[in-house]
Symmetry: none
């Protein structure tokens, strides 16, 4: 079965709203094992809508529309569906009844325009909308199913959850259970991830794979299906194991896991405390670590040493080192990490100093140059990175790199 | 001229991401006075994409695609556009050249997969992408224009702003000029903003208005149009002045302005320096202030005093005050602001201490309770807020409140 979503409303095409309804419905269809082939956004113009509907009836089996069910002249979804299917619009008594109840509840009189909302294509299974004034419907004709829901997101969501999902589940019990798992990778680019796993991926026939580049990481998603929950879990785990062999410790987590969560769990397990010294990131590193509730168990705090004087006074970086090597240097990064470890009484001190841009480049030091360091009781290690992107991206990427450096350190890699 | 957007990517149809690119492009087309008739979301499947492209070529004059330009096997936009138009794919030397420069900058070798990205349909006006690896293009053939951009939002936005918009403006100068301006408001809720401006809005016929609630602020958008740039600017400014009278200093800025930018400009003008002491926000306040390039002119740095010991040692908050009033108290907030002002040698010290949740509530102190303070050479002022939302929202809102407190202080309000 091929499904299609049609999002109706001139406000989408004028850019006044982002169509988030399609995303909600797409997720639900994945869970039901129904293939979504097309999403169409179309204005309230009846001719555009008619041609979009006719095309959808040709190429798809299940069509879900949202929007265009309101009381005003420009809401023409039901009229146009009736035209596309050669059906009459007829008055539904239960729609009028529920409108009366709704308006009584909010203590207002039914406006004449609302009465328009009681007309639906004949043969429709009407769905009364207790969240608003527009009834929804499920209509089946000649092996096609057209379902219409209001465009207001919370009305649409509730009505789909309560009516369409159970209906589809009963009518098309998924013969196969479909599941996905996402591996999250840091320290490699999209192309390098692809190079590492391409041969494996190309040989697989029971799985589908997607590689997605985000500003913070690369994600590899594996999807598979099987008749039972147990089999699909087993199949999925098998592929995850293969990919883990290929990608090794570049994988920092899976699905909803974040790197700050992974690092936090490692610190908790090892009973270690960390403190941060930040320059160009201005506090982002501490902010990221403290997104985790309970991070006070392993996070001591830190110093935002934006000016050289603060590096000198609070972190005890000798002025002559700054003068000789510059604030953005491996030497200063190391001394910052050692300094913050000391003044915040932590087991590990980590630091970032760099040029986030767009200003600040000097001589050989370009925008995106970042030094980071990690100090424990015995040693201090440092890394140099040349990052790209705008100011905020350079900062985000610097934090990710350092958190990954800390992760590998905690794993003994 | 009829325009159509095609958003390409299986991740959209699987519900993994919401297509926000279409909304950005739709807004730009409105500004150019170009009618957008269709938005199509389609998977990476070459046959689905081919039929979508062929349909678009039949019904639309300007087609803008996003996505499917990556280095991996499943990225097939250029191949499929070439098929739809009966064109060859040819290697563009400038694409290879820019890839070399890009990889040299990040100190990595070009992966073989990336070389795929140097092939575009013949006749394309290539747009070199300095934000990533995928080149974009504008291709004109037989009165149709097909433009392709990467799916990564920030790459797409920059490349469209810098290349497509000027190109379309020159080729199709608009007859009516439409403009919007957005006022940004903090310290009032959506309903209060509505109450203050409703009477004014209802009387207007030449303008359209929108009130939008965001997690960080309330925004009021005014839109109007006129035949010339000068007239539309004048009309728009007239309404902005009226709204400014009604909303006063609740307005902190307009359009793309951020509160950290407004505060930064005030600090620069007054030649004052600020330092931050943060507890529950973990560094977010410093991170927000340093989003502005050049913030080193007025930002000294700060202390993330997540643990009591750091409040005591670095900020010199007496242990007995913490013991008596608790870490989350007005007294501690004040001493933190004073302490950071002193140790960071700034004119103004600002501080936040609170319970971001979900854990940490004790006795009368609930999740969302935040104390903030501002200290200058003469006095220290403090505020108490009971904020709502999840952990991250409480932290974001706490930072906004404190930045607004600083803004009003700098304005002498």
């Amino acid at each position: 079965m091929k499904a299609e979503i049609i999002s109706i409303g001139s406000e989408i095409l004028r850019g006044q709203i982002t169509d988030t309804n399609a995303n909600f419905i797409a997720k639900k269809l994945v869970e039901l094992g129904i293939d979504l082939e097309h999403i169409s956004g179309v204005s309230d113009n009846p001719e555009s809508l008619l041609s979009t509907l006719k095309l959808a009836l040709k190429r798809s089996d299940l069509i879900i529309t949202t929007g265009g069910l309101g009381p005003t002249e420009d809401d023409v979804t039901y009229q146009t569906i009736a035209r596309a299917l050669n059906l009459k619009l007829i008055k539904y008594a239960e729609a009028e009844e529920s409108l009366k109840i709704f308006f009584k509840k909010i203590n207002k009189r039914i406006s004449p325009s609302n009465l328009k909302q009681t007309y639906l294509p004949e043969g429709a299974n009407i769905i009364i909308n207790q969240y608003g004034t527009a009834p929804a419907m499920i209509l089946e004709k000649e092996n096609k199913m057209i379902c219409s829901f209001p465009g207001v997101p919370h009305e649409m969501k509730n009505l789909i959850e309560e009516n369409l999902i159970p209906y589809l589940k009963e009518k098309y019990p998924p013969s196969m259970i479909k599941k996905s798992k996402t591996l999250k990778i840091t320290g490699l680019g999209e192309a390098s991830v692809n190079d590492l796993i391409r041969d494996y991926i190309n040989k697989q026939t029971h799985y589908s794979f997607g590689i997605y580049a985000h500003p913070e990481d690369i994600q590899v998603q594996v999807t598979t299906q099987a008749p039972t929950e147990k089999e699909v879990e087993k199949l999925l785990q098998f592929s995850i194991n293969q990919l883990t062999k290929l990608l090794g410790h570049y994988i920092y987590g899976s699905d909803e896991e974040t790197i700050e969560e992974v690092v936090g769990n490692l610190l908790k397990t090892k009973k270690l405390k960390v403190a941060v010294a930040e320059s160009c990131t201005g506090g982002m590193l501490g902010e990221t670590i403290t997104r985790i509730s309970g991070s006070s168990e392993y996070f001591q705090g830190g110093v935002v040493s934006y000016q050289a004087k603060i590096k000198e006074e609070l972190l005890k970086v000798p002025p002559e080192v700054i003068k000789k090597h510059g604030e953005v240097s491996k030497q200063v990064a190391k001394l910052m990490a050692e300094g913050v470890r000391r003044c915040c009484h932590s087991d590990i001190g980590i630091s970032i100093t760099g040029i986030a841009g767009p200003g600040g480049a000097t001589g050989k030091k370009e925008v995106g140059l970042v030094y980071m360091a990690l100090a424990d009781a015995k040693k201090t290690i440092a890394q140099k990175h040349q990052l790209f992107g705008n100011r905020q991206l350079v900062r985000i990427r610097a934090c990710r790199r350092l958190l990954n450096m800390l992760r590998l350190y905690l794993m003994g890699k």
